[in-house]
Point group: C2
Chain length 223, copies 2
DNA sequence: ACAAAAGTGTTCAGAGTACACCCATGT
DNA sequence: ACATGGGTGTACTCTGAACACTTTTGT
């Protein structure tokens, strides 16, 4: 049995130097056959965040994804058949090696696809606006919180890390300054491995030392 | 006719060096006679933010108050008689000269009162948690956004401004450094007036130059 | 050898931080 | 005259920003 409100989720991934958003093609009215955010009614006896995690799992096959509530949207005209309140979340996941299997096993969605920021079509409801707000939020948040690592695989190169920052912030950063700053934080652990399968000098791999990063950013919980 | 969700509002003021929160004593079950946040069901044909402004007006007699959405709360157990989703907002207002007349002209609230942070009693529902989150949010926000001015009268002294920062951040700041920094921003306009009615050297009054402050902080819209 | 990206230091300017005394005013 | 908060400057450190070349590796 469904409750009277929905959750919608802006799922961000990082691929080929770009931030991507996972959208689904709706299979229900209103806005049937239109692209929109993954989301649906919360069950009556289900915690809201559980519903979001369920939807994330249904669409990506992944659990334990970084998740934050963005905002509630309740405009009287956002839904053609009367106001339906939705609580929007954004999620950041590791889109590496296409471990992520897109499988909208729900019957209210036809297919799912990743869209780059500049490819996003007209969306159902106010979902375009929700994505805009999410982008604004992570743009601000990345400047004081290490959310970039949520978008990268466990082992990554400094160049990959820099590309995440550049993609989110929408500007190019100085390589030397970026590396200096990141390494100075002290929460990056140099691994004895290097990249494989590249036709040029292989880059050193790093991983995040979660202990140290939490110690440094402990004042940055949530907001 | 009421919708199926509520709004709750954490109203902050600044008085005698302390951040205060406006609470009301409930006159309805559940939690009758318990203190809680001002808030109520949104009308069916009413925009959510309009409902918040209405509640603010009903409690303080003020309009055009600084307002931001905090978060939605929808825990299954937050309301004894089944889940009721609430969207929490926080508001910052100028509590100067007691221009604010507390008048809960609603029939679902008995009285309203300002509480300092360390005087807050046990509250109805999850309202204590909502206040905690609001405080965390403004603590972060004041470091990158000039919300302090929302809590002050139009004309204020630099010491008053510093006291707002100290109250929100919960730590003492260096007077000389604080003044240097604030004046260097360039959005404070020195007035040809000084404080009145004090038994010591009267302090210079300043006001905010909104033009300049918006120019400097334009990247800081909303989030 | 060549193509491609990895990796690396120094200098400069501006911001943050620490710190203590005299001044103006009302009583 | 005294009590109270108002108002002021300097030195040091740290961080951010600008800037270009050599090294490594696979093909």
């Amino acid at each position: 049995m469904y409750s009277n409100f929905t959750v919608d989720c802006v799922i961000f991934g990082f691929h080929e130097g770009k931030i991507k958003v996972l959208l689904t093609e709706r299979n229900e009215y209103p806005f049937k056959d239109t692209w929109g955010l993954p989301g649906y009614f919360v069950d009556n006896d289900e915690e809201m965040e559980h519903a979001v995690k369920r939807i994330l799992y249904e669409h990506t096959g992944l659990k334990d994804i970084y998740l934050e509530q963005l905002s509630a949207f309740a405009g009287l005209k956002r839904h053609p058949s009367g106001r339906i309140l939705t609580v929007a979340y954004y999620a950041l996941l590791q889109l590496d090696h296409m471990k992520v299997k897109l499988k909208p096993i729900t019957n209210y969605m036809k297919q799912a696809r990743w869209f780059a920021e500049d490819e996003i079509p007209e969306l159902a409801f106010d979902h375009g606006q929700i994505i805009e707000l999410s982008l604004a939020k992570i743009r601000r948040k990345i400047t004081y919180s290490p959310i970039a690592f949520e978008l990268l695989p466990d082992k990554f190169t400094l160049t990959q890390l820099q590309m995440v920052y550049e993609a989110v912030l929408g500007k190019v950063l100085d390589k030397r300054n970026f590396r200096k700053k990141m390494l100075n934080y002290g929460f990056l652990k140099e691994l004895p491995e290097v990249q494989k399968g590249v036709s040029y000098r292989a880059a050193r791999l790093y991983k995040l030392d979660k202990r140290k990063y939490l110690k440094i950013f402990q004042q940055t919980i949530s907001f």
